[in-house]
């Protein structure tokens, strides 16, 4: 399944990567220089390359938002293009198992995504090292590696979604639109919907001067639970915690328990790597779970479908 690499589509993605990498690295590089000026001894400066927002957005935000598009672009016509060009019936008449078709499609996509991500990360690191002159330590490399794996899984989830649509829908346009619709739904409407739902269940009255803290906390809790349904939230919480050792919890300040707040106030040092991982483990496991679930559904659908030439 080498066709991903020679297609114009891949060329387009590669161009995008180089552009994004260079823009982010230079943008962030400059702002890091400014930000770190006042600091006596900035720690883990290298990771700032990925999390610092610079003028517009950080790399982490960018992948969280547009990473799904890479998955969708690579997968939306995986199966139905073979159907439209009538090569699918020929393909499965060859002595291969039927599932190797769909496994191949998925694996080829995952490998492509991995190459794309490695390329971006290397571009940013390389340019960053040249611009700000920091060399990453072993811990930073590990954090970036974990970030890479999380991103790979997250984009693979979207690849799985789009391949699923390409199995279900006969027309490539329909499956592309359906995947895009889902992407928009998760990136905009879930967080919006979370706010609306929280307002409805635990309304905070704007008029009264005294606000009941119980209600505020309930409001926050509901909003958080709903927004966690979006893989985008899962992913961005997980990765920003991994990349930023100063972040000690994925929860907002309001939702912390008293002890947690106390420890936050007492210990100002960055978290060690295992601790960071421990915090985001549930997030990572959820991402793995939805990715596999998605591919599993896709697999079942494909295996059960009647293959007719007409």
């Amino acid at each position: 399944m080498e066709d991903h690499f020679s297609s114009t589509r891949f060329l387009l993605i590669s161009a995008l990567i180089v552009m994004v990498g260079v823009i982010i690295a230079s943008m962030v590089g400059m702002s890091i220089q400014e930000e770190s000026k006042g600091m006596a001894k900035p720690t883990l400066l290298f990771l700032w390359l990925f999390t610092s927002t610079g003028k517009l957005f950080s790399f982490v935000q960018f992948i969280g938002f547009f990473g799904p598009l890479i998955g969708i672009i690579l997968g939306f016509d995986a199966i139905n293009r073979e159907r439209v060009s009538r090569t699918l019936s020929k393909l499965i008449a060859q002595p291969i198992y039927r599932d190797s078709v769909i496994n191949g499609k998925f694996l080829a996509g995952v490998v492509t995504i991995a190459i794309v991500l490695v390329a971006i990360i290397l571009i940013i690191s390389g340019l960053g090292i040249r611009l700000i002159g920091v060399v990453p330590g072993p811990e930073e490399v590990w954090r970036v590696a974990i970030y890479f794996i999380a991103s790979l899984l997250y984009i693979s989830f979207w690849l799985g979604i789009s391949i699923l649509f390409s199995v279900v829908f006969r027309s490539t346009a329909t499956s592309a639109l359906a995947a895009l619709a889902l992407w928009i739904f998760f990136s905009f409407f879930v967080s919006m919907g979370a706010g609306v739902l929280a307002d409805a269940v635990a309304p905070i009255s704007q008029s009264s001067t005294r606000v009941d803290p119980e209600i505020v906390i309930r409001h926050e809790k509901i909003q958080r639970v709903v927004s966690l349904f979006s893989p985008m939230t899962l992913y961005s919480e997980a990765t920003s915690t991994v990349l930023d050792p100063m972040r000690k919890t994925t929860r907002g300040l309001l939702l912390m328990g008293p002890l947690e707040r106390l420890s936050l106030a007492r210990f100002q040092n960055p978290l060690t790597l295992p601790q960071s991982i421990y915090i985001v483990l549930p997030h990572l496991i959820s991402i793995v779970a939805i990715t596999f679930l998605c591919f599993g559904i896709c697999y079942l659908f494909f295996m059960r479908q009647e293959i007719r030439t007409v």
Binding site: S7, L88, K90, A93, P95
Partner: protein, 261 residues
Amino acid sequence: MPCSFGWGDDKVRGQSIIETEKLTKRYGAQTAVNELDLKIWEGEVFGFLGPNGAGKTTTLLMFLGLTEPTSGKVNVCGFDPKRDPLRVKEKVGYLPENVGFYDDMDARQNLQFVARLNRIPDEISAPRIDSWLKEVGLLEEAEKKVGIYSKGMRQRLGIAEVMIKEPRLIFLDEPTIGLDPDGTNRMLDLIHSLSREKNITVFLSSHLLDQVQRICDRVGIMIKGNLVAVGPIEELAKKKLGLDKEHYTLEEIYMKYFKEA
């Protein structure tokens, strides 16, 4: 002058390559194929006829193990396509109607891709690809992208593609549709020579009855999921049109069966 290459009596044949016993496929309440009993002999050209939606393609898919029969037995090249679809697909070539190719690859790349799916090493497949491209008259166009091929060229490339794995049995679904008269003639000659010179069994499904009559040893007529007739064309003609008739066409026989069903 109608001609057929029938051997006459069924019992003096050699080996059978396809055997089915009460093969049935139902989609919900609808029966697509009803208790099909059929034997195809090694090396013959068998014409599989019937109106659209009679269950011909379903039968083909069951032979290839691409769809599961509801009940009954089927054996292709000594294997059960239900249990051993890969072994069957190694030995059987299938050319679907209006076959598709990867349009952004050239003819040679398309054939090489199929060869690789059949686990044929490149150094073995390369000369084979060239010789089949020559056989179907596409050697000069081998470097062109398949996207710009004409209908006839695609059909011929399809034949080459089916032959790459050197099958014992090939299924052809409307192989001559969309070909010009010269192309049709060459295609029919090619199919005939495959059967005669290489002892490849050809299972041909077509609506073009005059062509079927030209090259098929035996025909089977399927109507609404039932195999209503099977045998050499001469035999069917005797049975349906009377003993005295010398000049008959397959179309007359076919229409007679079709009206009775």
